[in-house]
Each structure stands twice: as structure tokens, then as C-alpha cells.
């Protein structure tokens, strides 16, 4: 009869264990969801750069303004335009056009460098 009863300490331990398992599951599910979302974003970012590169490679004597136009056009038409967590940047560094898609915290997702004004791609 005594074995059917539990002490307060046992109950607290059991509850704590249950809470720990629940927290473990929820945190792993949350992380998995974030990982999945980030992976999808990275794929879309790569697709945007790939499309931009395809269009830029067919342009004759594309200058920085044209490269920027193409990149912005592709970004606007992609699903990333509606995503607040993603931002684009297009700038010239050391004579190269750098097209970059970053997360809000500044972490790079995808990036290409194009020699200006030639279509040489590094």
C-alpha cells in the first residue's frame, strides 16, 4: 500500500523529467523548422543569383548599373522579395560587382563577384 504512494520529491522529479523531455522535443522541432526555412531561403537565393548570372552572361558590355538592374529585377520576381528576413546588396569592391543576398543579421546566404564591365565571373 505504501508503494502506491509517491513522495513530493518523486513527483517533482517526474514532472521535471516530463518537462525536460517536452522541452527537448519542442526545441528540436523548432530548430528543425528554422533549419528547413533557412535551407529553402538559401536555395532560393542561389536560384536568384543563378538567374541573374544567366542573364548577365548574355549581355554585351554589361556595366555595373545594368548588372544591378538585372539582379534587382530577379530578386523582385523571386519569393525572397516578400521575406523580411532577407536583404540584398549590390556594390562594387575592387573593380568587381559583388551581388550578395544576406540574412537580416548580416550572415551571407549567397554571393557572386563579377568583373566589371566584362562578363568574366570569378
Amino acid at each position: 500500500m505504501k508503494k502506491n504512494k509517491f513522495t513530493l520529491m518523486e513527483l517533482i522529479f517526474a514532472m521535471g523529467l516530463l518537462a525536460m523531455v517536452a522541452a527537448l522535443f519542442s526545441s528540436s522541432a523548432y530548430n528543425l523548422r528554422i533549419m528547413d526555412r533557412n535551407f529553402t531561403r538559401e536555395s532560393r537565393a542561389l536560384q536568384v543569383l543563378d538567374n541573374s548570372l544567366e542573364r548577365i552572361s548574355f549581355e554585351k558590355n554589361a556595366d555595373f548599373a545594368r548588372i544591378k538592374d538585372i539582379f534587382e529585377d530577379e530578386f523582385k520576381k523571386s519569393v525572397l522579395e516578400c521575406d523580411d528576413e532577407v536583404r540584398k546588396s549590390c556594390e562594387i569592391r575592387n573593380g568587381r560587382a559583388v551581388l550578395e543576398i544576406q540574412r537580416k543579421n548580416g550572415k551571407k546566404m549567397a554571393r557572386i563577384e563579377i568583373k566589371c564591365p566584362l562578363n568574366c565571373i570569378k
Partner: protein, 195 residues
């Protein structure tokens, strides 16, 4: 309570709780009475044990509370496992479909680059003998070698073909892939090829 019944109950209780010298002293000179009592003991033991077991039983409210708690726990556990497995499946499917997208974009560009004069006819892009068709989740090429699929896309994806022409840029063949998501939020993939 009659005295005998009281004594008998005391005897049973004493015998259940362990050795009681008082009890033994009380009955040692009365073997007949004790023997008769002993016959009744098992009955009373049963009665008392039954009574004590009844104390362990739960009331209806307690049972309902326990069942409700168990249901909630099962529901939570099931939800965790279900969500977890669903997420894993989705992640794997997504990664596969993303890889498939890059393969598809390569194939699509190769086909478009081979002939420069693609025209849109209905849902298809046509160039000479070649015909690029999009039908819901399938995209296939029809040429002199017959009909072949370019990619094996999941059923939730909808493929469409377009031609974009701007004054200041080359003509573009565009392959749009829309993915059905939760709450009608659709993922969209755009693959571009210059002509």
C-alpha cells in the same frame, strides 16, 4: 458491537499487524475458542482486506481526472512525434526537390540554348520539331526521339512556361514552379534561360 466480534476483530488485526504477546496470552488457555476463532479469521481477514482495498479504489471524479490527464499527455506526446516526423519528412522532401530544381534548371537551359527561336503556343514552348510542355507537375520535351520527362517533381508542384521579352534585354524563357504550402502560402521558383 458484540464483545466476541470485537475480540475476533482485534485478533485478526493483531495477527495481521504481527506477533502480539497479549493476544497469545489471551487465547492460550482457551484452545477451543481459539480454534473456532481461527475458522472465522480467514473470513474476517477477507472482509478487512476487502475494506482496506476499497480504500485504494478511486472515486469517479478521481478516475475522470486521471483519464483526462492521461489523454492530454497522450495528445501532447502524439503531437510531438507527429510534428517531428512530419518536419523530418518535409525537410528531406524539400532538400530533394531543391536539388531536383537545380538539375531541372540545367536541363532547361541546355534545351533552350540549343535552339534560339522558341515561341509560346498555348502552354508549350515550340521550336521547330522540339516542343517543351508543362502539364501540372510534369514538364517534358517532345522531339524526334519521342517524349521524355525533364524532372520528377512532387505532385504538389505546378509548372508553367512563359516567354518574357523586354526592349533592352534578351528574350527570356521562364520556367515557373509553384509549390503548394500551408494556408495557401505558395513557394515560388523561377528558372530563367536566355534565348
Amino acid at each position: 458491537m458484540p464483545v466476541e466480534l470485537y475480540k475476533m476483530r482485534m485478533f485478526v488485526l493483531d495477527s495481521m499487524s504481527g506477533f502480539n504477546p497479549t493476544c497469545v496470552w489471551r487465547f492460550k488457555n482457551r484452545p477451543t475458542y481459539e480454534a473456532r476463532m481461527a475458522g472465522e479469521v480467514s473470513k474476517y481477514k477477507l472482509l478487512i482486506t476487502g475494506k482496506s482495498m476499497r480504500k485504494n479504489c478511486y472515486s469517479l471524479v478521481e478516475m475522470l481526472v486521471v483519464i483526462a490527464i492521461m489523454l492530454v499527455m497522450f495528445e501532447v506526446a502524439f503531437q510531438f512525434f507527429y510534428d517531428g516526423s512530419k518536419l523530418c519528412t518535409q525537410a528531406v522532401e524539400k532538400s530533394l526537390s531543391n536539388q531536383e530544381m537545380f538539375v531541372l534548371s540545367g536541363k532547361f537551359r541546355n534545351i533552350i540554348h540549343l535552339s534560339p527561336d522558341w515561341k509560346k503556343e498555348g502552354d508549350c514552348l515550340v521550336s521547330g520539331q522540339k516542343k517543351l510542355m508543362a502539364d501540372n507537375s510534369r514538364i517534358f520535351l517532345i522531339d524526334e526521339n519521342g517524349k521524355r520527362d525533364l524532372a520528377l517533381l512532387p505532385a504538389g508542384m505546378i509548372v508553367s512556361l512563359e516567354i518574357e521579352a523586354k526592349d533592352n534585354s534578351a528574350k527570356l524563357a521562364v520556367l515557373n514552379v509553384e509549390v503548394k504550402g500551408k494556408n495557401n502560402v505558395r513557394d515560388r521558383i523561377r528558372i530563367v534561360s536566355c534565348m
